[in-house]
């Protein structure tokens, strides 16, 4: 099924620069939610993003049981918030995408002096099945000012 959205991943590329941490919610098989920050969500293509897997975290364990996640990213220039629903598709342990994420992790590790701690295990690729703006008070005011055609939330 095609994603239902008017905003595209390329419209919000600045959200994937790793400037403002994202939030990711997952749930265990028995329905207990978990929420944590992500240093960066990586844009892969029109319909996919990738997340780095460094530790056998609760997020990773939840996704092994229940392959759906909800991620909120923030545009660092406008502070607009976007909500994405993701479905896990595949894991890459080599290749260009893995190397791109590994360089990013290595850079963060070097900046924080944690080279022995932060090691990329895999690049996990997710299909974006929903993408929408989460309107702030400022967004809603702008939509009202723009009139009916500009009043869509996504």
């Amino acid at each position: 099924m095609s994603p239902r959205r008017q905003v595209t991943l390329y419209d919000i590329q600045s959200c994937f620069e790793g400037i403002i941490p994202a939030a990711i919610a997952t749930a265990s098989a028995d329905g207990v939610p978990n929420v944590t920050h992500l240093s960066r969500v990586h844009l892969v293509d029109d319909d996919h993003v990738a997340l780095s897997n460094q530790f056998f975290s609760k997020t990773v364990r939840n996704l092994a049981e229940n392959p759906r996640a909800c991620v909120e990213v923030i545009d660092p220039h406008t502070y607009d918030r976007y909500r994405m629903v993701l479905r896990y598709e595949r894991t890459e342990r080599r290749g260009p995408l893995f190397e791109r994420l590994r360089r990013d992790i290595d850079a963060i590790a070097a900046l924080t002096g944690m080279q022995d701690v932060f090691k990329l295990r895999s690049a996990d690729v997710y299909r974006v099945v929903e993408l929408e703006l989460v309107p702030s008070a400022a967004n809603l005011a702008e939509m009202r000012d723009a009139g009916p055609d500009g009043g869509r939330e996504s």
Binding site: F55, V71, V117
Partner: protein, 164 residues
Amino acid sequence: MPEVVEPLIDAAAKEFLEAPCSLIVGTVDDDGLPDATRAWAVDVEADGRLRVLLTANADVALANLRANGRIALTATDFVTLDSMQVKGHVTAVEPRTSADEVRFDSNWARCIAVLVDADLAAAEVIERFAPPGVVACVMVVEAIFDQTPGPAAGTRLAPTGIRS
């Protein structure tokens, strides 16, 4: 019969949760689909329950909470990234009170001050982040976890010392 609450939140946890920090919330629907949204202030009440101010237009999260009450809340220091996750269930979702509005305004102003002082963003840009309104939920905390980024993230702090 009123629900008996065993408070897990000690003074240090209360101070951390009520400080200006990034507050993110996870919920789940009855089919297991998770949702992420924001919270805007936390108040630790005398009986250990949390009064959490959520985004008023977080329709999915609010529907999830009304359906099953399951909630996770992570608070992260804007500068140090020290993080704490609390998990539990919500017993009520209700309109904001005048005290909630005061709490929201105060915490929002403190968050902006911290972010500007740390040179993380300009005040006029952060202002764009403000929600169109808030609602309150009452949360019973059942477990607390260290969520600070790194290999120890997920370590249970209370009630026992095992991982999440």
